[in-house]
Structures are given as C-alpha cells and as structure tokens.
C-alpha cells in the first residue's frame, strides 16, 4: 500500500473536518427551540365548528369572463366534495330556503379572481403549454357576515384531461381547506 504524502494527508484532513463541521451545524439547527422563545413552527389554527354549510354562488368581476360550463362544473364539484368531507350534517345549495333555520350555518363563497382557458390538444401535443387554470378566493363567513377564513387557491389541469378537470382539482383543494378548518 502506498503511504500518503504530507499534502494528501492535509487535504483529506481538511475535508473530514469540513464534513464534521457541517454535520454539527445541521444538528444544532435541527434541535427544537428553547421553551421560553417562540419557535419558527406555525401554531395550529383553531378549528371551526358548524353543523351545516351553504355554498353561495358569486359572480365574477365584469372584466373576467369565465365560461358558464366552467362555473357550473366548479359549483357542482364543490358541492360533491363538501358532501364527501362528512364534516357537516347538511350541505345546502345556493338559494336553498331551508337553510334559513340553521343557527350555526357557515356560508362558503368562491370569489373568482382569474381564469386562463387552455387547450386539451395543445397540452397533449406540447406537454408544457395549454394548461387551464382557475383562481378563486375561498371565503368562509358566518350568517352575520363575519369573515371566518379567507384563502386564495388555484385549480389546474396541466398535462392530460379535459379543461373542466381544472374545476375538479379546485374542488379537491376546497375540500382540503374544509378538512383542515373544521
């Protein structure tokens, strides 16, 4: 076996010391913060409770043209996904008069903020272009109009699938917010 020269030994030693220093730094950063100081981890949001939810339709701004089939598919997909969460005893549709008697009713609105009409053919031929996306502000409010939660989400179809699949993606994201919030 060939013995190390002085220069080679020094270089190996410096690499080993550097790796050890990096490991120590990483382990120090990974340690939880002391109990007295606030840590970087976010506090868990307090969960809301409601026996029923009503999904109200919201009209898009005048300068934002969204095809009606996209709006209707979004509405129906969200109703389906809200029901699937099983977080509420009843999911009321927009305009349902029977929701008036529910005391702890939460009202959900999806306020349209952006829409980009893509093309299925373009997506499948080019892979990277032609995505359809719909951006909305999800708003939960109480009956008296108090905003309980607001969040902006975006539904997309990027590669395969029809344009209306973006509305399914959006509704799954709404359901995920409902699962986290209620």
């Amino acid at each position: 076996m060939k013995p190390f020269t002085r220069a080679a030994f020094l270089s190996h030693l410096s690499i080993a010391v550097g790796c050890a220093a990096l490991l120590m730094a990483a382990s120090l950063l990974a340690q939880p913060s002391p109990s007295g100081k606030p840590g970087p981890t976010p506090q868990k949001a307090q969960k809301l409770t409601a026996s029923a939810i009503q999904f109200e339709r919201s009209d898009p701004p005048e300068d934002l043209l969204i095809p009606e089939d996209t709006r209707v598919a979004t509405y129906e997909n969200v109703i389906l996904q809200l029901t699937k969460t099983k977080k509420f005893q009843h999911v009321y549709r927009s305009g349902d008069r029977t929701a008036a008697d529910i005391p702890d009713l939460v009202i959900l609105r999806l306020i349209p903020q952006g829409f980009k009409a893509g093309s299925q053919k373009q997506r499948e031929v080019t892979t990277i272009t032609g995505a359809t996306s719909i951006k909305v502000k999800v708003q939960f409010s109480s009956r008296d109009g108090k905003i309980l939660l607001e969040k902006v989400i975006e539904g997309k179809v990027r590669f395969y699938g029809e344009n209306l699949r973006a509305t399914y993606d959006l509704s799954k994201k709404v359901a995920a917010i409902v699962n986290d919030t209620f």
Partner: protein
C-alpha cells in the same frame, strides 16, 4: 327411307299466336299494375320515414355525455337526452332524471373540441406509441357542443348541469326549451376554450 313431314295448319297457329299475345298482354298488365301498387306503397312509406324527423327534429339524442350535475347520475355518464313537452329528460340504462321547463333559470351553449382518442385507456395507448407518436394521435379531434342548464329545486336550491352533445344539437335543444317557456338571459359569451380572446 321413311320420312315424316310435319303438317302445317295455318288456322290453328294464328289462333294460338293470338291467345299467346293476349296472355302476354294480360301478364304485362298484371305486372305493371303490381309495380304501380308497389311503387305507390314504397313512396308513401319513404315519405313517412322522411316526414317523421322533420316533424320533431332531434327530440331524442343518444350518446349524450352528462359531465356533471344530475342527481343519482355519475359524472361523465352517457345516456339519451330527450325533449319532453314538460322539459328535458336524461336517461341511462338504470336511471332517469327530468328537468322541468318551469324550473330552468338559464341555458347556455358553447363550442369545444374533444380528442378522438381520450380517457385513461386512450392516454395509455398514446403513451405506448414509440418516438412520441402519441402526440400525432392527439392532433385528431372533433367539435362538440356544450349545453349548460341552470335550474332550481323545490326549495330554491341552485343546480347546474353540463351536457356534451354533437355539434349543432345543443342550439336546437335550447331553442326548443325557450319555445316551451324556459327562462334565458342575455349574456356575453367568452371565446371558446383554447382560443385567446
């Protein structure tokens, strides 16, 4: 050598010829009469066949896809969309859903294109074609029309349903529903999906 010579009787042969001619005339008369009767019945039947769809065009269209929005009907189910005197009816093998004209709040039609080869199986088949040949298959598409019907239930709850029909059929349905008294508002149509405004 014994030879037999045929005796020629001119009186008998003319009678036979006349009889034969009459028979031929009768037969031709019978055949022509039968032909006239046959043509007349065929023409009336053909005109009936032609007249039936003209009297009620596109009353019932099979292979219509209900994308979403009907109770007890799964998304993207194919069925028969029919125009009834009271409204619309979508029927599959098991279920049947009616939308009454009085409950309809608005009707929209739009044009789109659909891939000729689509769905999970189609996507797999395209992916299996070597050297990106699936992209060539993706170029083939056909135009369809989308019929969106918005209606309310007995409690006032809003419902919407989206149907995909062959090109030109959705407009016919909309016109028939409007003629029945369905509500329609005037709206600004965005450009078809896939086209920049």
């Amino acid at each position: 050598m014994i030879t037999r010579s045929a005796q020629f009787n001119p009186g008998v042969s003319t009678k036979q010829r006349k009889m034969f001619r009459r028979l031929l005339q009768l037969a031709s008369l019978l055949v022509s009469a039968a032909g006239v009767v046959f043509v007349a019945t065929a023409a009336s039947a053909f005109s009936q066949k032609l007249a039936t769809p003209q009297a009620s065009p596109s009353t019932s269209i099979p292979h219509v896809k209900c994308v979403i929005g009907l109770e007890n009907i799964k998304a993207n189910t194919k069925g028969t969309l029919s125009m009834l005197p009271t409204g619309l009816e979508f029927a599959t093998g098991k279920n049947k859903v009616d939308i009454s004209t009085a409950s309809i709040q608005d009707i929209f039609t739009g044009q789109e294109s659909r891939q000729d080869v689509s769905g999970p199986a189609g996507t797999l088949a395209k992916a299996a074609i070597p050297y990106g040949g699936g992209r060539i298959v993706s170029l083939f598409s056909h135009n369809v029309e989308v019929l969106t019907v918005e209606y309310v239930d007995s409690n006032g709850g809003f419902h919407g349903t989206v149907f995909v029909l062959a090109a030109g059929k959705a407009t016919t349905f909309k016109e028939q529903l409007v003629a029945q008294g369905a509500k329609v508002t005037t709206h600004v149509q965005p450009p078809p999906q896939g086209q920049k405004p």
